[in-house]
């Protein structure tokens, strides 16, 4: 064999190897997804690669620790993909690359159930719902929200409840009670405004948690209006969301909202609240654990009334788990999910101060949590957080323009509505969402 042929053969070999590598890569990036499903089995052993939201790492570690005792034959590994920073694409690739068997897909209404279904990446959970009797533990609205084409695709594990946290001692010293009317609320804030104390602090840099305040004021004006936007033909330009935006502007103009709010993050706001520099902090149920640890029993949460309305808690799904269609061991994944729906995993999460979606240990919740709404119809008035991406961007980008008066509340709401319509057109919001109610 002469040199030319030898070199030619090497070239051919190299190209073949390259083609092989390329096809492997392509397979990993898109072609490796199996849509086959096996019949559901209840198991207690196997290996699960699990991925949740980074913000729940501490709680999740507690669940892992409890699970090691209760399910010793079930090996639960943390999947290496962190899709908090890279969103849906990382999620999709982690499934297609078979790096995870059980993962969080955020809220079933908007993020990211529909895009995952559009890409045919998920396995229906109906059989597991049946086998493990999850319907008995998980609230009906959440299950409905996670249903498409007659199949259940997600099991909700966490709920989220936005609110204004306060120290009980701060309010009692001033002889105040959680406000019941808008006038009450303004009076309370005026009382709380003093030297060295900000009435309301909120982190807005990076992600504006004013979204929670707007949501609460909106539900405090007309909760049905939120429901109509999510599930019906309601618009962001309806009177209630515009009035809620106007109420936020009023609070800002009267100096009740931290003037640093536009530059600080959620953690900075929490520090201000915990250090006693702010009386109220716009946050949510994920903050329970920190308050429980740092303030003992001297804390609680209120939801503000909107102008002309009354306080109405808005609660909804925060985190739901899905099982990929190509999961290596779907039964083991379901067993681990079951532990977080019916087993001691729920208790571990609840003990850490979380608002869990399951009623498995509802009688044992901490007092601040026990009286809060966690189920049924109120979950449908929830709009915070996991808005579809275009809507969220429009919301986030525009909100500061309300305060420097470059946009009116009506203009801002119109901008959000435009993005909302785009999300509906792109399939990020289910077009037949009326059926989810």
């Amino acid at each position: 064999m002469d040199v030319t042929r030898r070199v030619a053969l090497k070239w051919a070999g190299g190209l073949a190897l390259s083609a092989g590598a390329l096809s492997s890569l392509i397979e990993a990036c898109g072609g490796g997804t199996s849509t086959s499903t096996s019949s559901a089995k209840k198991v207690t052993s196997g290996t699960v690669r699990w991925r949740t939201d980074v913000s729940y790492v501490i709680s999740d570690q507690k669940v892992l620790d409890a699970g090691k005792v209760d399910l010793p034959k079930l090996v639960v590994e943390s999947s290496p993909v962190d899709y908090t920073a890279a969103g849906f694409t990382a999620m999709r690739l982690s499934i297609q690359s078979r790096l995870t068997d059980l993962l969080v897909a955020k809220s079933p209404k908007f993020l990211f159930l529909d895009p995952l279904l559009k890409s045919k990446l998920l396995r229906p959970l109906d059989d597991y719902y049946e086998a493990y009797n999850w319907k008995h533990y998980l609230n009906q609205p959440s299950t409905k929200h996670a249903t498409r084409d007659g199949h259940i695709w997600m099991a909700t594990t966490y709920l989220e409840l936005p609110g204004l946290t306060y120290r009980k001692s701060t309010l009692s010293k001033l002889g105040l009670q959680p406000p019941q009317t808008w006038a009450d609320f303004l009076m309370t804030l005026q009382e709380l405004k003093g030297p060295g104390q900000i009435p309301i602090t909120v982190g807005t840099r990076g992600f504006s948690f004013l979204m929670l305040l707007h949501n609460q004021l909106w539900s405090g004006i007309d909760p049905k209006s939120i429901e109509q936007v999510i599930f019906g033909s309601g618009k962001w330009t309806d009177p209630a969301p515009v009035a809620a935006a106007g109420a936020m502007v009023e609070l800002w103009d009267k100096g009740y909202i931290d003037k640093d709010a536009l530059s600080i993050q959620l953690g900075d706001a929490a520090e201000r609240f915990l250090a006693g520099k702010a009386a109220l902090n716009v946050t949510g149920s994920w903050f329970y654990a920190t308050m429980k640890k740092q303030l003992g029993d001297d804390w609680d949460m209120l939801t503000p009334p909107g102008p002309g309305g009354k306080p109405t808690w808005s609660v909804g799904e925060d985190q739901g788990m899905v099982i990929p269609a190509n999961a290596k061991d779907a039964d083991a994944a379901a067993a681990w999910l079951n532990y977080m729906v019916t087993g001691n995993g729920v208790k571990a999460l609840q003990d850490a101060g979380n608002l869990v979606a399951s009623n498995a240990f509802s009688g044992q919740a901490i007092p601040q949590v026990a009286h809060l709404p966690t189920t049924t119809s109120t979950s449908s008035v929830y709009l915070f957080g996991w808005l579809p991406t275009a809507t969220e961007d429009a919301w986030q980008q525009g909100v500061s323009s309300l305060f420097d008066k470059t946009q009116t509340p009506a203009q801002w709401c119109a901008q959000v509505q435009k993005a909302w319509e785009k999300d509906i057109a792109n399939g990020n919001v289910p077009s037949n969402r009326g059926q989810l109610l």
Binding site: K10, L262, I264, T389, D393, Q396, N426, N428
Partner: protein, 327 residues
């Protein structure tokens, strides 16, 4: 003739027949081998890089271009959609802001970073500052941090109540000013640009510093004899001597300045480009649409447009450079 040829064929089939051999000298064979190796070796050496480039750049690039002309990417309903996606991408609310910011950012990067780098390099290399090594380190040290880390550091520096700048303002009696560096749409871009310059000026400093040391010292000595000092030697000797290097630094800074994603990411994630699109740039739009979200098609279209713009600018700058060298 035909008969003779037939007989040759027959002969060739005869057992024991062998074609007449021509003895090739060993040296000649070795030379042929060398020639063959010479011909293929470059291809062999380039092959790994070519494969990597193909797999990680050309294939994704082709895929991106294809996606930008389709709808329904990553689903079984993907179909060709012509320029529809481009039309939609051009109507994105954030795009005018992103273009404006790209122009401001590109111009600042192109002018301010090289200018500051050049002046600081001249001050260190030609000035009285001693020890020079210490000053070199001080000026260069910000470059040791990644842009993302620089961004993270500055989020603390910019805290309106407890940040470094707020403390300085408090010291001089402006404690109530509380500038919302990252929260005020009128200040946010400037604040982000400062982080970028803080990080990139040291690079320019390093390049100019090395280039200044290459300038013939006799030129300065001659100028000094003629009575020229300080600013005069800087303007009439240093700056003209660094013309080629300056062009290169300006080009690099412009290209870096067009995609300052890391700074904006560190300062504004997850609401990238906030507040009110004040720090929006095309890469953040692409990231939000195609990675955080599911609008791959528009993200792909914007990526293609950005690529075309960058290639165009690079070619233009190369022409300028060639023209300058030819002068």
């Amino acid at each position: 003739m035909i008969t003779e040829k037939r007989s040759e064929v027959v002969d060739a089939r005869r057992p024991g027949w062998a074609p007449p051999t021509v003895a090739v000298p060993r040296r000649l064979r070795f030379e042929r081998f060398n020639q063959t190796v010479d011909r293929f070796l470059p291809y062999l050496l380039v092959l790994p890089a070519a494969v990597l480039t193909g797999v990680f750049i050309l294939v994704p690039l082709a895929q991106t271009i294809w996606i930008s002309f389709t709808l329904g990417a990553y689903t079984d309903q993907q179909h060709f959609a012509g320029l529809t996606v481009y039309q939609e991408a051009l109507q994105e609310t954030g795009l005018p802001f992103a273009i404006r910011n790209a122009l401001v950012w590109g111009a600042s990067a192109m002018v301010l970073a090289p200018a500051l780098g050049l002046v600081s390099a001249a001050l260190v290399e030609d000035g009285p500052a001693r020890p020079k090594a210490l000053f070199r380190f001080v000026f260069f040290s910000p470059y040791l941090f990644s842009l993302a880390v620089a961004g993270a550091i500055f989020t603390r520096v910019y805290d309106p109540s407890y940040g470094f700048i707020a403390s300085l303002l408090k010291l001089i009696g402006f404690g109530d000013l509380k500038l919302q560096w990252l929260g005020d749409p009128h200040l946010a871009l400037t604040a982000a640009l400062v982080v970028f310059l803080w990080h990139e000026v040291p690079f320019c400093f390093l390049v100019f510093s090395a280039a200044i040391r290459q300038i013939d010292r006799n030129l300065y000595d001659a100028a000094n004899v003629d009575g020229a000092w300080g600013l005069q030697t800087f303007v009439h000797i240093t700056v003209p001597s660094l013309r080629t290097v300056t062009t290169m630094v300006v080009m690099i800074m412009l290209l870096v300045g067009l995609i300052p994603f890391a700074v904006v990411y560190a300062l504004t994630f997850p609401a990238l480009g906030a507040p009110s699109y004040a720090t929006e740039i095309i890469p953040t739009m692409i990231f939000k649409l195609g990675l955080l979200g599911t609008n791959y098609e528009e993200a792909a279209a914007l990526s293609v447009l950005l690529l075309v713009a960058i290639v165009g600018i690079t070619l233009g700058l190369n022409k300028v450079r060639e023209w300058q060298l030819a002068r």
